[in-house]
Each structure stands twice: as C-alpha cells, then as structure tokens.
C-alpha cells in the first residue's frame, strides 16, 4: 500500500483526537464523580439511576415521616404518664375519703382537689402539639373533651374518631395517635363526676363503688400507655430498618453510577502516557521527507 505524508498526518490527527476524547471522558468521570453523563453511555445504569434516586427519596421521606410519628408518640406517652399519675392521686383520695373518720368538710376539701385533678385531666386530654389536638385522631382541630351543661363529655363534633395514619415504609401505614376511646372517654369523666358528687354529699357515704370505678379508669389509661409502648418498640424496629435501607439505597446508587476513582485516575494516566507517546511519535513521522536528505 502506498502511504503518503498526508495520510499519515490524518491518521495521527485522528488517533490524537480519539485519545483526547478518551482523556476527556476520564477527566469528566473524575470531576463529576459519575460514570456516565448521558443515558446512551450506559442505558442500564441510567435507568437504574432513576429508580435508585426514587428509592433514596422515598426512604428519606419515610424516615422523616417516622420522626413525625415519634413526635406524636412521645407527646402521647408523656400525657398518658401524667394522666396515670393524676388518676392514681384521685384513687388515693377516694381511699382516704372512704375513711369514715373524714368529716363532710374534710371531704369537701378533697372534692376541691379532685376537681382540680379533673380539670388537669381535661387539659391533658386536650393536649396540643404544634397546635394540633393529639387525642382526637384526624380531628386535630377540635378539642377532645368539652363542657356541656357542667359535664365533661367527649366532643361530638370530633366523632367518629379516625386514626392518624402515617406511611413509614412502602405500604406500611402506622397509626401515630393513641386511640382516646377507653382512655379519655365519657366513662372516665362520669366516674370522676360520680366521685365528686359523692364527696359533696353529707352523712355516711360508701365509696367502694367509686374506688372500683376509678381503679378501672386508671387501668384503662395504663393499658393505653402499655399499648403505645409496644407500638413505639415496633416503630423503633421500622426506623432501624429504614436506616439500613437508606444506607443500602445510597450505596447501591453510588455503586451504580459513581465512578471508581482509582480506576478512573489510572485510566487517565494510562491515556496520558499513550497520548504523549503518540505526540512524540508524531513529530518523528511528520517531519522528514526525501527533501531533507537531498543536497
């Protein structure tokens, strides 16, 4: 084959361009930290990249949702703790009042204290977190307990109660609230009211029924708290799993499209050597012609 100078020149140029394109590729990989810039460089990596991004976004969101659930639960737990204590105090007072040595006057002062404690329980039932009533399910804008004709009853406007469901994992909707039925319900305030009424009456009074009733209500609150505790444990597990998922999702995403720096740098250096060699050889090839050797 006849080879002319211009052919060699063009070949050299073409190979230099190719080598420069390779260098550009590796350099971009290093500067962006990504294996690919556009889907055509590796469609599979690109498609997976989109899915993994969605996954990372989802897990991030679920973790945020989980922390929202924690806010609800922590506050509920706190409230139930206080409510339990208040009920215990009322029970103690009932046992005291049942003591026959108490005079009606003394019983009235107990009554005052019980009223205070009842008000405290109403307040607790109407606890607001970030402006939301937390013991009303999804009716967060309405009070749980309202006063109707001097009686404390469950707000009818907030019925029926629906759990606040928050998605903490794909398809897993977690109730964030404590169901107030059986905790802050009409029965509780009826029992307290019964006790208060009895404290106001003169003469011999039998408090045994009240003690039983109040004990039942205390148990209800404690049970509610125990259930909440169990749910908190479950959430801990879910959150733990989400933490792992987030790490794994990010890791997989990085492995999918992230560049292996050692490899990219090595590639770049190798390419640089090739490029230099090509340039050096180029000056040797292009220069001499027959004219250089003629007198």
């Amino acid at each position: 084959m006849r080879i002319t100078q211009s052919m060699m020149q063009d070949n050299l140029l073409r190979h230099l361009f190719n080598s420069q394109a390779q260098m550009d590729k590796y350099l971009t990989q290093i500067t962006t930290g990504k294996k690919i810039r556009r889907p055509s460089e590796d469609p599979v990596v690109a498609m997976k990249g989109i899915s993994y991004r969605t996954e990372v976004a989802e897990v991030e969101q679920f973790r945020r949702n989980a922390s929202e659930v924690w806010t609800w639960m922590d506050h509920s737990d706190d409230v139930l703790d206080k409510a339990g204590k208040a009920m215990q105090r009322i029970e103690e007072l009932a046992v005291q009042a049942a003591n026959d040595t108490y005079t009606p006057n003394e019983r009235r002062s107990i009554q005052e204290e019980v009223k205070e404690l009842r008000d405290q329980l109403v307040e607790l039932a109407n606890t607001r977190v970030n402006g939301k009533y937390i013991f009303n399910g999804t009716h967060t804008e309405k009070e749980r307990i309202v006063e109707v004709n001097g009686e404390y009853v469950v707000n009818e406007l907030a019925e029926p109660m629906n759990d606040v469901l928050i998605e903490v994992s794909k398809g897993i909707e977690f109730p964030a609230n404590v169901n107030p039925d059986g905790v802050f319900d009409n029965e509780l305030f009826e029992h307290i009211q019964n006790f208060i009424d009895k404290l106001g009456s003169d003469g011999d009074v039998d408090f045994n029924d009240n003690i039983e009733e109040l004990n039942q209500s205390t148990l209800n609150i404690v049970n509610g708290r125990a259930k909440l505790g169990a749910r908190m444990n479950r959430l801990e597990l879910v959150e733990d799993r989400l933490g792992h998922q987030e790490v794994i999702a990010q890791d997989i995403m990085a492995k999918n499209e992230g560049v292996d720096f050692e490899e990219a740098v090595m590639n770049l250096l190798t390419q640089e050597v090739v490029h230099r060699a090509a340039l050096a050889a180029g000056t040797k090839i292009i220069q001499p012609s027959l004219i250089d050797f003629l007198r």
């Binding site: 460089e41 690109a46 969605t54 989802e58 469901l165």
Partner: protein, 521 residues
Amino acid sequence: MSTFHGLEMAKRALFAQQGALYTTGHNISNVNTSGYSRQRAEFVTTKPYPVPSRVQPHIAGQLGTGVKIGTVERVRDQFLDAQYRAETSKYSYWNTMSEALSRMEELINEPSENGLSRTMDQFWQSLQELATNPDNDGARAVVAERGLAVAETFNYLSKSLQAIQGDLKDQIEKGTVEKVNSLLDQIADVNDQIQKLEPHGYLPNDLYDDRDRLIDELSEIINIKVTYSKSSNSPNELEIADGLASIEIVDESGKSFDPPVKLIEAYDPDNQTDQEVNKLEIDFDDTGTLVSEVRVGSTTVFDDEHNDDMSILGSIGSFTALIEANGYVDEDGNAVGVYPEMLAELDKLAKEFAEAFNAVHSSGFDMNGDEGKEFFVRKDEFDGITAESITVASEILDDPNLIAAAVANKGSRNGENALELTKVFDNENIDGLGTSPRKFLTALVGQLGVDAQRANRMTGNTGILRDQVDHSRRSVSAVSLDEEISNLIKFQHAYNAAARNMTAVDELIDRVINQMGLVGR
C-alpha cells in the same frame, strides 16, 4: 534518415521530460488540495521510421523517433469512489441521527438532580409531608408549588423539544434541500464543461476532480449511484475519458428504486437529448413542522402514502436521518419520527398522570370539607392535558387549602387522600401507560439511551469503515512528496541527458558542416 533526425528526437525528449516535470510540479503544488488526484504524464514512443509505404527506404529495422506525452492521466479508482460514497451516506445518516438524539438526551437530562423524575420525586415527597401534616399551610403550599414544578418541567421539555424540531426543519430546508440543489447545479455545470472538452481528445483531470468532490459532498446527504456515459461520438474522444456523470438516488443497499429516481440525467450524444437536472423539493404539513411530501423533479418520492423503504426513506444519508428525526406524516395522519414520538410519549405521560392524579384528588375533600377539584388543568380553554399545556389549577395555587388531602367522613384534617395521591406515582394499572408513571418515565429514558447508544455506535462503526475506504482511496490518489521528488530527479536527469544528446548531435552536424571536405587545404 535525415540530418536533423537526432536534433528532432532530442527536442521531443526535452519537451516530454519538461512536460513530466511540470506535471510533477502541479502535483507538488496541489499536495494539500482536497479532492486532488495525483496526475501522471504517460510517455509513449513516437511513430518509428520508416512507416511502411510504397516509397519506403530499405533500411534495417525501424528506427525509433523519440518520445512524446501520450496523455496526462489522473490516478484514481472509481470503484473505491463508489465504496467511499456508500459508506459516507451511512456514516452521515448515523452521525446526524446521533446528533439529534444527543440533543434530546441533553434536554431530558436524566439521571440527574434536576430532571423530570427528580421533580416528580420531590412532588411525591411533598405529598407525603402533606399526608403527615394535613393541616399545615406550609405543607399545602409546598404541594401546590412542587406540583407546578412538575407541570413546568413538562412544559419546558415539550417546548424545548419543539424548538429543536424547528432547528431540524431548518436543517432540512437550508442544510440539505438547498445544498443538494446547489450541488446538482454545480455538477451539471462541470458536466457541461467536460462535454465541451472531451470530444477534442482532452482529459480534463482537474474538472474530474472537481466533479468527484461535489459528488462526495452529495453522498453525505443521500445515497447515490453515479453512472458515466460518453460525452460524444467524436473519434477524437479518448477511450479513458471519464465521460459525463448521471446521478440517481439508490436505496441503502445500492439498488435503484422502481421507477429509478434520477437527479441528473446526462446529455445523450446518440439521441441528442439535453442534460436533465431534477431538483429536490420538500413540503411540510399544515402545522409547518412535519414533512408531508418530497419530490425529485416532478416525481413524488415520499408522501403520507409512500413512507416505507420503497420511498426515499429507503435510502440513507443525512437527509433521511433529518426527516426521521424531525418527523413526517403517515397515511393515518399520525406524526412519525424521533422528536414527534418523544413529544407524544411526554404528552401521554402528562395526560395519564394528570388524569389519574385528578381522579384521586377529586375523590377527596379539601380543608373546607368540599370535594376536591381538578388539581392539574390545561393552560388554555381546550380539552385534554398535554405536556405543553399542563399546569396546576390557579385556584389551588391561590388557596392551597383546596388541596383535597382528606378522605370522606374522616374530618377535613385527615391526610389519607394525600397518601392515596402518592400512590398514583407507582400505580401500575394506568391503562393509557400500561405501567406506573414512574416506570413509564424510566423506560422512556432507557429507550432513548438505547437508541442514542445504537446511533453513537453506528456512527463509530460506519466512520471507521468510511475512513478505511478513504485510506485505500488516498493510497491510490494522494500525492506523495517523496514520490514526486524522486520523479522530479528522474525527469531532471532525463532532461539533462536529452540535452546532452542534443549536444552530441550538434557536434556531429558541426563535424559535417564545418570540418568535412577540408583535406589538402
């Protein structure tokens, strides 16, 4: 044998070597001229003496009378030209296609932190946030804004795709059709000049080179076949003359269409028919974007009923790539092509996603306890959501409390419908898409990636093939300076020797004229 036979012979040698030297000089001058083929002065011996006749002198054998330049030929292989042009057409097709797809890839910009899928993910996150805090005004406002961001990304993609489509249309009109027609005029013009020279026994090498260069350029735009015919019936016309070029468009495998599509039909010396040039003409549809008809001269080679491989699309080159990228109208009035199809897919995604989203939204209840309205609407008064027209209802943007986050009978501050809305993204049962919106988008990007990858790979492959043929072609035709310099020396020596020969003859004649017959003086 005449007295001056030697002088004449030496003179002829001087002239011939000089001519060869000048040809060498011409080669050296044009070493960097693109499309130039090296030329060779072909020496032939002149007619020997004596020629047989009635009065021929009886001498031993025939006496040579020297040399002359028979022809100055260019060194070129037309077979390689044909190969080169076929490969150029293929390369040009894939290169154009690859550029069109690359622009689309850049626009779609996936996977990235600001593409459509990212905006959708952010919208999804805002809905989750709303589901956890349905009574939070901030969460509501974020949903409205993120929804708008999704709509605007659709708008942006659609408009930008259409803008690129507009560029492609310009490229078809200015870059190819006008260029083809200008090339055809130039080739026809060169044909005319060649036709005037060849009958007189000339080889217009430089005109041949011009014509070949123009035809090379034409082959980038469309696959062509060149046939050559004699330019005259003149007895002086040389057997090795290239003749006149006729050009026809052929399909990808190099076969003629039925009927043949001729761009240039050369002058026919037998029937005295003039050279015929059929210009390329193109029409666009009513919208002014899609190709509706292509004609060569008066022959329709492409319209809504002829758009298969039997039409001009069966050929290959930047022209067909541009038509396929820009899009054309098929027999059912549908837009076919890379860009219109991507636009249609985006429209489909926007429409189906918006409708599925609206359906869930309408089934919920807003903060005021009213039924949800349409979340996504069209910007104008027409029906049907498209990628270009999608937006968020202005009432919702003005008052995010109208976002229906709640389900029926569970209080206005319930967030369950917002949760349902997040499920639209992964709902696999959207009939119009056949899959979930997220998967549809991923598949769309994947398909684009595969198509672009194929186009890039084919560009590389066909580019290598073209370069190889070009290499072979230049191996034959390109000027080698080493070769020319050695020829220069060769011819210079021959010239010097011829001059020396003339001196020798001169001395002989000097002997006869000045020194003969002087005996005894």
